[in-house]
């Protein structure tokens, strides 16, 4: 039984990170109706920038125990690049989906080389820094506390987002705009501003995800195209546009993958795609999605 604990924990950790990226995707799709293929680039950007910031922090003598806060702040800071990217994306809001998708594909290519220019093409790691938080050992189970902190942070972000969207005036405006942009505009909502805020929020979620994952993994250029497929699986399973869907979808994908690796390694990602296809066939709106126009 304890053997499965490690697997479940690793699945939940993976889900916590996936939720952030998928959440970003959902926000952007909900309001702007664009599927952002460049989400992986934001993820990678967060990871690389996080490493740089942590390096700087250590150099200036900041305590290693502030690691997670430094990463969170780095994620938020670099995520602001979303403001600039949104400007570019704005040019295709009224265009056909295919072109919107292509533009995000182009942005992915651009950002990949920007990362390459700034940080080089070799994967970067933070060494053993995550161990500064120690571990909890219960018998044969040993849990690095960092992983728990990340799961906690992700849950906190999920709750925070949920609160903003459901309980605040801003959230109501966002949901209204997602439902019916024209109507919102007619009612005096500054849709342009909403677009900027939402897209940036979406990119920040992605960059935070990358920053948080880096201590136990690494920042590499492969991240960019690989996470896209998993994130897509999450939003399809959860339902396009739904934050709750992102949460549940992330859990499903994270846990499935952890178990697949254990039970039948060959299946690893195959299983996820099969589930995606099954969901798209039987419940195309996913578990929580709204019907598409």
């Amino acid at each position: 039984m304890t053997a499965y604990f490690d697997i479940i924990l690793s699945g939940i950790f993976h889900a916590a990170v996936l939720f952030l990226i998928a959440g970003g995707l959902q926000l952007v799709f909900g309001v702007q109706k664009i599927v952002n293929l460049a989400c992986g680039a934001f993820y990678a950007l967060g990871a690389y920038f996080g490493i740089t910031m942590v390096g700087l922090a250590i150099k200036y003598g900041i305590s290693q125990e502030l690691l997670i806060f430094i990463l969170l702040i780095s994620g938020i800071v670099i995520g602001l690049i979303g403001v600039v990217i949104e400007r570019l994306l704005r040019l295709v809001y009224d265009r056909e989906e295919g072109f919107q998708l292509l533009l995000t594909f182009a942005i992915m290519l651009l950002l990949e080389d920007v990362i390459r220019m700034i940080w080089g093409a070799t994967p970067k790691t933070l060494g053993n820094l995550s161990m500064v938080y120690g571990q909890i050992t219960l018998g044969s189970i040993s849990i690095p506390n960092y992983k728990l902190l990340v799961i906690f942070a992700s849950v906190a972000l999920a709750l925070g987002l949920g609160w903003i969207l459901q309980k605040t005036k801003f959230g109501k405006i966002v949901r209204a705009t997602a439902e019916n942009r024209r109507m919102s505009e007619a009612l005096g909502v500054n849709v342009i501003w909403i677009n900027v805020v939402i897209f940036t929020l979406g990119s920040i979620l992605g960059t935070i995800g990358g920053a948080l994952v880096v201590p136990t993994s690494a920042a590499s250029l492969e991240m960019i195209s690989e996470v896209v497929v998993e994130a897509f699986a999450v939003v399809v399973i959860g339902g396009l546009g739904s934050m709750r869907g992102a949460l549940v979808g992330a859990l499903i994908v994270g846990l499935m993958r952890a178990f697949a690796v254990h039970v039948y390694a060959e299946l690893e990602l195959l299983l996820i795609y099969l589930i995606v296809i099954a969901v798209l066939i039987f419940k195309p709106n996913g578990l929580y999605g709204k019907a598409a126009e």
Binding site: A3, Y4, D6, I7, L9, S10, G11, F13, H14, R116, G120, A121, T122, P123, T125, G127, N128, S130, M131, Q135, T137, S140, I141, S142, P144, V213, T216, S217, A218, S220, L221, E222, M223, E226, R257, A258, V261, H262, A265, E266
Partner: protein, 432 residues
């Protein structure tokens, strides 16, 4: 009994030959016909510059630059200076295209390089078809343990992939015999990982070691998120873990394995860990692991002056320590130099030798490489000196080194020309 004697004799005679060969190599252009060749010799280099193998490619490049520098300073190869044209090794398709460009457009005299077994396997038929003299650093034309190009004319390959696995297995048996019953493998999902895992098990069987495989993980090359794999390994509770992980994912694996408590009480056998040696810090890398340094142990106590010179040069310039890719790159260039000079000498006043003549001359050539003596067999497979040992924290660095370090020449670790791997395993006299 007889076989053992024969093998030892071969080794001794091979060793003796090196003295003479190294003199020749060091001698430079003395005694060679004065050919008015002011045109430099162009050598194309294919090495990874990006991604998980970037640091390895970089180390190899540094090794070949060191070699070329030395060669040019002492007059070049038979009087001609060496010029490098470097192209990036990426995936099989694109690398084959870069190779084609080097041969057709840049018209290089020789191509050297390649780190990935997958790419080298794919590119090998093209090498022979394009009749381009090519010396792989770390590449092979074997599909698993099966040779796909039995009689190459232009292609020279590195030692077989199974060398490090065989040596690791031997060391595992030597040091861990009787201490493990269950084993698990976590190997990169491509030909190299598959070869290694198969060879390891074959050796265990050969020596009559009883074992049971309780887990087999095949992470995709480039995956940095190994937590599920580690969790799965933990769940299987193996006594021994065999891992030929060797790219940037290795330190990530080690660190996470340590955090998950996997490194306590489990024996580790890592035939290719040397690539990441300086990143395998003591804080998360245990002692007592079988650790493969392949053809270069920078820290070897009785290193040759050449190796000492190189390690010092490398540290002064790059503030780091080299891994075996630098040795492979140096070896390839030395083989090319020695073969070319031999062919030039044989040709005498007849002009510069043809590619085929140089290729013939390379067969059987012996050279002194950074990590020790090496040679090129008549079947175009290299023989080099291999180093592996048990990890220790007792050193002046923040990463692990090996002590004791065992040294073996590859003719003890790879199958002889024309022999099938499985056959060789059954019948060869392999000593611990």
């Amino acid at each position: 009994m007889k076989k053992k004697l024969v093998q030892n004799k071969n080794r001794r005679s091979v060793m003796k030959g090196f003295g003479a060969a190294s003199l020749l190599a060091v001698g430079g252009s003395w005694g060679f016909p004065a050919i008015a060749q002011n045109r430099p010799l162009k050598v194309g280099i294919l090495a990874p510059r990006a991604g998980i193998a970037a640091t390895i490619g970089e180390c190899g490049l540094r090794g070949v630059l060191f070699a070329v520098d030395k060669i040019n300073k002492s007059g070049g190869i038979a009087g001609r200076k060496v010029e490098l044209i470097v192209e990036e090794e990426t995936n099989a398709k694109d690398t084959t295209e870069r190779f084609r460009k080097l041969v057709l457009q840049d018209k290089v005299d020789c191509v050297q390089g390649l780190v990935s077994s997958g790419v080298s396997l794919a590119m090998s038929p093209t090498v022979e078809e394009m009749k381009a003299l090519t010396i792989y650093w770390d590449g092979t034309s074997q599909d698993g343990v099966k040779e796909t190009i039995p009689n190459p004319k232009y292609l020279f390959r590195s030692t077989d992939n199974e060398c490090e696995a065989v040596m690791s297995s031997l060391l595992a048996i030597k040091y861990f015999k009787g201490q493990f019953a269950t084993i698990a493998g976590i190997n990169p999902d491509y030909s190299y990982g598959r070869n290694n895992w198969a060879a390891f098990q074959a050796l265990l069987k050969r020596f009559g070691i009883q074992y049971k495989v309780v887990a087999e993980q095949w992470p995709k090359v480039g995956t940095m998120d190994l937590s599920s794999h580690i969790a799965s390994l933990k769940a299987a509770k193996p006594d021994l873990i065999f891992s030929s992980l060797l790219f940037a994912d290795l330190p990530v694996f080690m660190q996470n394995a340590h955090a998950a408590g996997l490194t306590k009480g489990t024996k580790f056998v890592m035939p290719a860990a040397g690539f990441q040696q300086t990143l395998l810090k003591k804080e998360f890398t245990p002692e007592g692991m079988v650790f493969g340094l392949n053809t270069l142990d920078f820290n070897y106590p009785n290193a040759t002056p050449l190796q000492k010179e190189f390690v010092q040069h490398y540290f002064d310039k790059f503030k780091d320590y080299p891994n075996w890719e630098a040795d492979r790159a140096y070896f390839a260039m030395q083989v090319f130099k020695a073969g070319t000079e031999k062919a030039v000498k044989a040709k005498g006043a007849g002009g510069w030798p043809k590619t085929e003549e140089i290729a013939s001359a390379i067969e059987g050539i012996q050279v002194e490489s950074l990590g020790g003596p090496g040679m090129m067999r008549a079947d175009h497979i290299a023989e080099q000196t291999f180093y592996q040992g048990l990890t220790t924290h007792k050193n002046k660095y923040d990463f692990v080194t090996t002590n004791p370090t065992d040294k073996k020449f590859s003719n003890e670790l790879q199958k002889p020309p024309g022999v099938d791997f499985w056959q060789w395993l059954e019948t060869a006299k392999i000593t611990l």
